[in-house]
Each structure stands twice: as structure tokens, then as C-alpha cells.
Symmetry: D5
Subunit: 91 residues, 10 copies
Amino acid sequence: MNTAIVFINAEVDQVPEVAEALAAIPGVTEVYSVTGAIDLVAIIRTRTVDEIADIVTGRMNKVPGVADTQTHLAFRAYSAHDLEAAFSLGD
Amino acid sequence: MNTAIVFINAEVDQVPEVAEALAAIPGVTEVYSVTGAIDLVAIIRTRTVDEIADIVTGRMNKVPGVADTQTHLAFRAYSAHDLEAAFSLGD
Amino acid sequence: MNTAIVFINAEVDQVPEVAEALAAIPGVTEVYSVTGAIDLVAIIRTRTVDEIADIVTGRMNKVPGVADTQTHLAFRAYSAHDLEAAFSLGD
Amino acid sequence: MNTAIVFINAEVDQVPEVAEALAAIPGVTEVYSVTGAIDLVAIIRTRTVDEIADIVTGRMNKVPGVADTQTHLAFRAYSAHDLEAAFSLGD
Amino acid sequence: MNTAIVFINAEVDQVPEVAEALAAIPGVTEVYSVTGAIDLVAIIRTRTVDEIADIVTGRMNKVPGVADTQTHLAFRAYSAHDLEAAFSLGD
Amino acid sequence: MNTAIVFINAEVDQVPEVAEALAAIPGVTEVYSVTGAIDLVAIIRTRTVDEIADIVTGRMNKVPGVADTQTHLAFRAYSAHDLEAAFSLGD
Amino acid sequence: MNTAIVFINAEVDQVPEVAEALAAIPGVTEVYSVTGAIDLVAIIRTRTVDEIADIVTGRMNKVPGVADTQTHLAFRAYSAHDLEAAFSLGD
Amino acid sequence: MNTAIVFINAEVDQVPEVAEALAAIPGVTEVYSVTGAIDLVAIIRTRTVDEIADIVTGRMNKVPGVADTQTHLAFRAYSAHDLEAAFSLGD
Amino acid sequence: MNTAIVFINAEVDQVPEVAEALAAIPGVTEVYSVTGAIDLVAIIRTRTVDEIADIVTGRMNKVPGVADTQTHLAFRAYSAHDLEAAFSLGD
Amino acid sequence: MNTAIVFINAEVDQVPEVAEALAAIPGVTEVYSVTGAIDLVAIIRTRTVDEIADIVTGRMNKVPGVADTQTHLAFRAYSAHDLEAAFSLGD
């Protein structure tokens, strides 16, 4: 499973509309409107890296009102749970 | 429930160590090492906004090797599921 | 009570007009035209974080002449008065 | 009465300590820890512009842990109340 | 007396025309076309801070060909002469 | 006569001290502490461009506490007075 | 043989189309769509530096949908193989 | 097969030494010293995305003299050859 | 003799055409198309600083396809030859 | 013949010393101290691109007081003379 975190800037007067359109794209699991220099953060989960390309450049970037997207692929996920397991295993 | 998405830059030679330390902080549900201009993305979920302040400025920022954090509070979450419900309700 | 501090850039020839329109939005308590790289600073006070999203992305961003907004949610307020109380309580 | 809005970046591990020290400076009426690219926002209110210089360069900038300050002087304040008055006066 | 130093970027093909128009605005004492990342620097001198707001947002920003202005209010002026006086007074 | 406008950033806790030291350098006619992203603005007036180099790189940059200087040479000065003359001459 | 690495930003809704058009230009050996602040990376290999100029400013920059290109000429290539050879030669 | 393109900034006086050290890391197929705002570009080829994380954060970032790395994962590779095939297939 | 080094960005699809037009302006001695974040570098040599203003803001900025220019006036020229002379003179 | 234009930032208090040291490096034909965001511009002329790498990363970057260099290789030189020739040839 691959996870990508996408930062999105939208036309200033279309943030809620863009958020709804992005959330409806298959593979996009969450979209948040956020405080700060970017407007929206979307989380994508796919089986292959190739599918992320299709979703971002083929679908998200073509939503009207999207001004810019920047994709950050997650290399690796860390969680408290993994660490506990790791500690019990002496990792 | 409040969600915050925190971008973290770490000292260049300590990214995996910082990621593990952040993931062990209560309230931090996920930490991803990511491609791009930032090193890590952490997701925080708390009941109050005040707890986010405690976690970011009181805990995360004090982890050795953390160079900078930038917090984006999620105003609102959009999901495909909500939209379906919304459409059926005529929203 | 939640406080948000919003930085606004306006079309260069519409700063006073935009300031007046923003000040008329319910929940916006103050708007200042300021020196420096940004044009206006607005203070929003609401009972919920959700209302801030409505005000910024639903109302302020749709004011004609607004070019960009950047929202900073206040995690916590510090004041001289709190500190005095804190000191007397041995905090 | 003059109002200045000061953006402050602090050493990453000293944000709450710096906030408390700034809030104790006379003339600083509020300090907020905030989400986003800056750490703190302080509001200063003084009778003269000269006093702002004393507070920022003479007091705030010398607080240990302050890395950078950027001052935005409020040219003018707009409020819903002023606008109502203005409308009733035909302004 | 208040002094403000305003940085101006103009449409690339209208720098001299913009400079002349700005120099004709009452309260603007000097306009320089300059080398570097900004096109023009204007000096404003007024009796009140409020007048600076009128001049910048009400007059300069509305000159055709002005793309962006950034105002820096002088907190305080230092001069060799003041220093000499200061030294003789034991300041 | 050549005019240069120099932007100066100083160590955060030494702005007033740096301003005084700069104002004492021959050829520096004014130093202002200013609001915004830069700390100080100095005006230099000399007979030759070469003297500006001596003042900036030879004197100002060597003042303790100066972190960065950026020099903008004035190509040309515009003033309301010149314009009136120009108009009467049909320029 | 000269190698140039070109960063390309494309209009947000035309990334795959631009990538295909760039890949068809003679001298362009690879085009990658990538995560992060830039959209595409192209590798050019030519016999002369002059040919790179022709390819970038004469061909790539004229592809519809290209918003910006930034060329990095490779001064020198390092590879594990060269190093082994170098070590065995005492370089 | 996954491809990542990594931009590297090195301490100013150690660029050739860093380039040689990076080229010796398994999985790094090419390192180029380049003109422009970055010092080096490295190409990594691995079977899994996870291995890229190990190479970048575990190996490259720990090379002495590396100041900053920025990883761009290739979503997809385009080549003239693919296009020909695509055209013959009616793409 | 004054020397100015001008950085020019051109519309992405007009770099060679802009370069030729700039090179034809009297006082412009060389124009280079270059790798990196800027498109062209022009060298201007004139007898007075005032002439540079005429060439840059009066002529170069008005060439169609010029998006932005940034002028750097040379304060002083250093050359190996001068240094030899300086050393022999004990400077 | 290859030409490279190198932008150099130096430690703030060592600009003239760095300029002299750079001018003494073989292959560096001119060094200018300049107004603006960079401190020095050097021109390099060599027979091969490879020699530029040696001069920049092997020699210039190792001069004490050099903080950063950014190299722009000239793809092509345009001059008024060439254009005249071109016009007479019907280019």
C-alpha cells in the first residue's frame, strides 16, 4: 500500500467546491481544508506508485479551480504501535 | 475531534531517529517520512485545540534533531462518504 | 472561544474597499490595514473551529478583490494578567 | 493610540517560554501561539510610534530564544461598527 | 513628522511613467528608480500615520502600472548629528 | 551626486546599537529603523559610485552585528518640483 | 557528451500531455513526472553545449503548456565504477 | 523498478568529496555536479520505494558535508520509444 | 566607465528572440542565454549611471517578451592584472 | 570557448578580500562587486566545461569567506555585431 500526501492550492474563492470535488475521486481517502499557506491537504492510498500519478496528474490537477498541487510520497510510516513492537523485539 | 497536519524538518542526518521519537508521543497517530522539501509529516488527533499546542510546542518541538515544525489545523474534513450523504439530503 | 489571525493580500488598487467589506462579515472583530508584505490583518473570534472555516473559505475568500488569505489559528493566548495569576499560584 | 502586530519566530524548543516572556513586557497586550509558518503573534498598543520601536527593538528582540521579529504597524482599523456609523452618515 | 519608505514594483514596461506619477502625489517627497529586485523607492513624510495610509492605499496603489507596494514605516531616525549631541550629553 | 539606499538586517538583539554605529559612518546621511522584513534602511550620498563600494563593503559590512546588507543604487531621482519644471518646459 | 537535467513546470492540467511532447524531442533521452515542487524532470544528452540551448530554448520552451524550465548542466558525472577505477589507480 | 532524482546541497567547500562519497552508495547509479542553485543531482534506482528511504535518509543524509537533500520520486517515465509504440497502437 | 550586469527573465517561448532584440540596443555589449533560474544575462557599459537607467527602464524593459529585469551595478572590478600591479606597489 | 557567470555570496565582512582572492584564480577573467542581493559576479572563460567544474567547485568554493556560489553557464552569446552580420546575410 502506498500513501501520498498532496498539498493543494485552489482559486481563492473556490476552496470548498474544490475540496468536495477532490474528495469524490477514487483513491483519495481524505481531504482537509487547513490553516496556513496551503488550502487543502489530500491523502491518497493506492496499491501502486503508478496509480498515484494517474490520480494526481490525471484527475486532481484537472479539477476546475485547482491552481497547484504538490505531492509528497510517504517513504515509510512510523507509529507508536510499531515502536512498541520494535521495543519488545529488541530492535 | 481535531486533526492537525504537522510538517517537520529534521537535522539532515537524523530523519529516521526523529520520526521514531515523534511517533511515540501520545496524540500523534501517524508519522510519515516523505519525498520533497519537508522531511516528515505527522498527523495529530486530539479532543481540543489546546492539546495540539501542548503536543507541538511542548513535546514535538523539544525532540532533539527537530529543526522546524509547521502546523496546519484541519478546519474541516471532506470525504466521498460525506458527499454521498450530502447529495441524498439535497445539500 | 477560538481566535484566528488572517493575513490578506488584496488587489493592489482595492485595499480600502476590501478592508471595509471584510469588517462587515459577522465573526470578524477587527481588520487592520498594515505596513509590510501583507495588506490587511483580520481577527476572527468564534465559538467553534468549524465557524472559522465558514468565515474564511465561505465568506472572506469570496469578497471581490481578495487575492490571497492565510489563516493562523491561535493555539493559546498569553497575557500579562495570566502570568501574574500564574505566579501567585506558583505555576 | 497605535497598534502594531508583530510576528515572532522563536528557537524551536522555546516557544512557550518565549511567549510568556513577551506577554510580560509592558505595552504588549496579547501574545498568541499560532499554527503556520510563524510561531507567535503579539499585539502592541502604545500612544506613540516611538514607543513601538522601544518595545520591539529594545525589549522583545532581546528576549532569549527570539530568533526573528517582523513588525506590521496598523495604518488604520476597520470595524463593523464604524461602517454602520458611516452608512448612517452617508459616507 | 512620520517617514515611510515604500518599495514599488511596476509593470516592467512602465517604470519611468509610474515614477513620475508617484512623484506628483502630495506627501511623496522623493521617488528613486533603483537597481535590484524592486523598481522604485519612494519616501513619504507626513504629520500623522493615518495620512500615510491615505497616500499609499488611497493614492499610490491606484496609479496605473503599479503592481505592488510594500511600506516600511520608520520607527526612528538616527543621524551622525544626533549621536554627537548624544555623546556631548553623556547619553 | 550618487544616492544609494541600503537595506540592513542586524542580529536580532542589536538593532539600535547597529543603527547608531552605521549613522556615524561618513557618507551615511540617514539611518532609519523600520517596520517589516528588514531592520534598517540607510541612505548614502557620495560623489562617486566607487565611494559607495568603500562605504558599504569596507565600512558598513564590518560593523559588528550587521548580518546582511543589500544596496540599491538610485539610477535617477524624480520629484514633484522637477515635474512642474518639465511641464512648463513642454518636456 | 554533455548532459543537462531540466526541471519543468507545466500548466496544472496538462502535465501528462506536456511530458509526452517533451519526450518526443530529439536529444531528450528521458522525461519523468515527479513528486514535489516541480512537475517533470527531463534528461538531455548532446555532443555540444550549443545543442542544449537549441533543445531547451528552441524546442522545449515552445511546447504548449510549458510554464517554466530551469536547466542544470552537468559539469561532471561521478559513478561507483569510476571510483573503483580511481582507487585501483591511486587517484 | 523505481527511480528517484535527489537534489543535494553540500557544504560549499566539499562538493567534489561529497559527490564521490554519494556515488559509492549502492543503489545510487549516477551523481552529477551541476550548474545552478543546487550542487549535485543523484539518480537512485531500486526495486521498492522502501529502499529509496533507506538510501536517502539512512545513507546519503549521513555523508559528512551533505547539507540538504530533496527527493523527487519518478511517478512515470516517458520516452520517445514508448510514444512510437503508443502511436502504432492508437494510444 | 560604468558596468551593469542585468538578469532578464523572458516569456518562456521567446528567449532567443528577446536575446537578439536586447543585443541590438546600444550600450548593451553582450547578452548570454544561460542555464539556471534566469534566462539571460546582459552586460551594459556606459559612461554615466544615468545612461544605464535609460537603457534598462527606457529600452530593455520595453522589449516585447521581457517579463522581468534585475540590474546589478558593478561597484568595482577586480582582475588578476590589477592585483599584480597592487602587489608590486605594496597596496 | 565556454563562458560561465558565477554569482557569489561572501561572509558579510569579507567581500573585498574574497573578491581579490577570486580574481587571482586562473580562468577567472573578471570579478565585480555589485549592488543587490548577491555580493560578487565572476566571469570564467575556459576551453572545456570540465575546467569550469574544476574552477568553481575545486578553487572558488574553497576560498575562505565564500558562503555560496551559483554558476550559470552561457549557452550562447548574442551581440550587436552578430546581428548585423546575420541581417546582411538574410538570416
